[in-house]
Amino acid sequence: MATIQLDGVGKRYGQKNVFTDLSLTVPHGECFTLLGPSGCGKTVLLRLIAGFEDPDSGAISIGGETVASASGDNLPPDRRDLGVVFQDYAVWPHMTVFRNISYPLKLAGIGGKELEERTQRAVDLVNLGGLEQRLPSELSGGQQQRVALARALVANPSLMLLDEPLSNLDANLREEMRFEIKELQRKLDITIFYVTHDQEIALAISDRIAIMDDKGRISQIGAPADIYERPANIFVFSFMGMANFLPLRRAGENLTAGDGQPFPFAPPGGDDYVAGFRPSDVILVRPDKAGAGFLRGRVRRTSFLGAMLDYLVEIDGVLLRTALESHFALERGLVFSEGEECAVGFHSLHWFTRTEAAKAGIA
């Protein structure tokens, strides 16, 4: 069993606090993703769990056993029963594929037939059959990636730590590998702690996601759909995908947008708001088709992206991104040219206070 528990963990480099008082629990068998912008400290957290770094405060336990605490006497990485996949693969260049993958078994004192069988099983698991005697220099990036994965798996660790393992792969391979990782985790019943800045991968493979902001604080933990649909704050919302923001003002009974256009949605209460929405939440129509609750705008830029039409729409000085399916736009006569007037409605909105938005540097 490998439940990871972080208890008030803090880490400092010189004067800079990477994070302070961070607590987190990842139950056994979960595929857990730590998602955050680059430089937020997520790799440091992984290195703390692996034992490459020591915490300055707090304690870390794996499977109920305390492996690191500020008081010292920490369990070294080689005794934590884990597999690590590094961003740069870290495949040993002087060993063949087979020797790379079998090395953890050799250290565990396994030899002979068992070593060969288990290594072979790991090789087959990542589809590297036939390349056993190659040197890493003779492999593509994706193949080296899989060697690293097999090496991390071969000794059946109960915990796998993955640090941006797919960032150097091309789009197709990345998609294929993320399914494979998910598949392996289910098959082998292990805990996966996955670190990335790529929200798409995080949404695709995780049981739960933790969002870390650039100050090293965890903003929200939850299932992928939760995080995407119900972001806890403006940082999570804007980090999880392309985001538009429309500042609003209260005028008597109603809210207004831009130069006083009435905005027909009810906020949860209070005066000054910012409405947040994704490009796909925008309803774009011709001005004459607009009913109540639409805002007047003008198309400033159009980009045809094949399946999608991407418009930059201006509402009284505020620029918004929209996305329409090309087929849909053609059918409904919604192919705008630059400078044309349009009307803008909304499927759904997220509400943020002005102060929150200002703090995040938006609107």
Partner: protein, 571 residues
């Protein structure tokens, strides 16, 4: 935790091991390199019980010292100018023209790197000494010239010989820069309508100028502190430079106070100028590097030599024959003569001298044994110490690393004669240990002298080993020592091997350091060749030089084979 290593060393007894390695590294560098250099400065500037600059100036103004400084400067300037012109010209010829047999030529121009220049100087002395030189005699006896056509015992002679052996420093740097230069830079100039001459003078030369300058400074550094050639060719006519004067003073007066002072003051001048040169070189290199080099290999455009093709080929062949083949052949021929001065006819030549030095003569046999065992010892010790020190510098995040980085730079800027003098000051019993007149003092000096090579080769190798490779091993269940053994060591082995040979081969022909430290039973090959020649045993000396050449060339060939097969096995 005060000592905190990178991922590889941390955890699993990290404190103890890291602390031990760091302390050991600093200790080795302090004892072997820093103490001797400090003692030199101390002896130079500390006179009559106080810090004394006036006395240093007094020593520098003594006519002999002053003249030696001037000579070092004059010879270094002449050699630098000459070698830079030769090196740049040949580099351009073998990279940017359609000269035939370019690859072979390039290999030949690098041969002088292997050849010890003092053996070359001996050969040139045999050819051009005013009375006995074979070529001078040929012109006087056979062609009826009144006077010798060239006197090798002169500034011109010394500079010419040094140029022959030092020009590869510029050659190799400029070749590298020209080969890696982005050809689009030249092509765009060509498209703008510039002719080839304009392109060469306005684009190509300015772009490779940093490489030329850096090579030139290397030569300057080497020549200022160069002992062998000046010792063989200069002393006859009273031409001393800094290293030969240090040797002369220490050697003649057997360690009197005045001679030690002169020596240390001169050595201080050498160290300071070497440091300045290295500083200047680093500046030029860091500023010039990224402008030229694009990292890929290109096919640069070649100048069609047309009518000049054959004359230039002939010139190159003649140059190689005259400067490389001729002196080498002369050494072997003189080594075969019964008596120096006899004409090279079959009845005068035999293998008797070679047999004598290899099997009968105790002095030469001792010298060969000493050089080989000293070389092996120094190479082994320096290789292991170097890998450890480089590991601390490159890989460990420890407090006190700054000191180590500084100490690690020291060996690069301390010339051989300075090391020898420093070692005498440190190990002559004044501080409890007396190694003087034993073989150990030479060993210590070799270690100090060659530490720079080892640090360079090993840190280059270690920089290739990413931290994540070691961390991956730790995560796979390897302890710190297992990770070092299974991952780090195999990956730096080529660097260690390179360090070993970079030390072993030069130490076989070492002269500058050993000449100041040898005792009757601890002659090295270099010392034996030099002293035999001084004592007039020219043929024996030449035979030993021949043997040394065979040792060096076969060793070098072996290494080239080895590194070639190692690198082709990888790709």
């Amino acid at each position: 935790m005060s000592a905190r290593g990178a991922g590889g060393l941390r955890g699993g007894g990290g404190f103890g091991a890291a602390g031990v390695i760091l302390t050991l590294s600093i200790g080795i560098l302090i004892i072997v390199v820093a103490v001797p250099v400090l003692l030199i400065f101390f002896n130079a500037f500390w006179a009559d019980g106080s810090f004394n600059v006036r006395d240093v100036i007094r020593v520098l103004r003594e006519p002999d010292t002053y003249q030696a400084l001037l000579n070092s400067l004059l010879i270094a300037c002449g050699t630098t100018t000459g070698s830079t012109i030769i090196g740049t010209f040949f580099a351009w010829l073998v990279t940017r023209t359609d000269l035939p047999f370019k690859r072979f030529m390039k290999g030949m121009f690098l041969v002088p790197f292997m050849l010890p220049s003092f053996i070359g100087a001996l050969a040139w002395k045999m050819l051009f000494s005013p009375r006995a030189g074979y070529i001078n005699r040929f012109f006087m006896d056979t062609l009826g010239f009144e006077n010798p056509i060239f006197n090798i015992y002169s500034y011109a002679g010394i500079i010419a010989v040094e140029c022959m052996y030092l020009f590869p420093f510029v050659f190799i740097q400029v070749c590298g820069a020209l080969e890696r230069m982005d050809p689009t830079l030249e092509e765009s100039a060509r498209i703008s309508g510039a002719g080839l001459f304009t392109i060469t003078t306005r684009i190509t030369i300015p772009l490779v100028l940093p490489s030329i300058l850096s090579g030139a400074l290397l030569i300057m550094l080497y020549s200022m502190a160069h002992f062998g050639t000046v010792a063989v060719l200069g002393i006859e006519n009273g031409i001393f430079n800094i290293p030969t004067l240090i040797y002369e003073r220490i050697h003649q007066s057997a360690g009197s106070f005045a001679s030690i002072r002169t020596g240390t003051v001169l050595a201080s001048v050498l160290v300071v100028s070497a440091a300045c040169i290295i500083w200047l070189q680093n500046r030029i290199l860091t500023r010039g590097r990224y402008q030229i080099i694009a990292g890929k290999s290109f096919r640069p455009m070649e100048l069609k030599l047309r009518g000049l093709r054959l004359p230039l080929l002939f010139f190159c062949v003649a140059y190689i024959c005259f400067t490389i083949v001729l002196p080498t052949v002369v050494i072997f021929l003189v080594g075969g003569l019964k008596t120096y001065g006899l004409p090279f006819t079959l009845e005068n030549l035999s293998l008797a001298n070679y047999k004598f030095i290899l099997f009968e003569h105790k002095l030469t046999r001792d010298a060969i044994f000493n050089s080989v065992s000293l070389g092996l010892g120094a190479a082994l010790i320096t290789m292991f110490a170097g890998v450890m020190i480089s590991y601390v510098i490159v890989k460990m995040k420890t407090r006190g690393k700054g000191i180590l980085e500084f100490l690690g730079m020291l060996p690069f800027s301390v010339p051989g004669s300075v090391i020898a003098l420093g070692v005498i000051l440190a190990w002559s019993g004044k501080y409890g240990i007396n190694l003087y007149n034993t073989v150990w003092i030479i060993l210590v000096a070799y270690i100090a002298r060659y530490m720079a090579f080892s640090l360079k080769a090993n840190s280059a190798a270690l920089e290739q080993v990413h931290d994540s490779l070691v961390e991956a091993a730790r995560a796979s269940g390897a302890s710190m020592w297992q990770a070092l053994r299974d991952i780090v060591l195999p990956l730096v082995r080529p660097g260690m091997l390179a360090a070993f040979f970079l030390i072993f081969l030069p130490s076989l022909r070492e002269l500058t350091v050993s000449i100041m430290l040898y005792a009757p039973t601890t002659r090295t090959i270099g010392v034996a060749i030099y002293t035999l020649n001084e004592d007039g045993e020219t043929v024996i000396s030449a035979a030993l030089a021949g043997v040394a050449l065979i040792l060096i060339i076969s060793g070098q060939t072996l290494i080239n084979r080895f590194t070639e097969s190692a690198s082709s096995g990888k790709g």
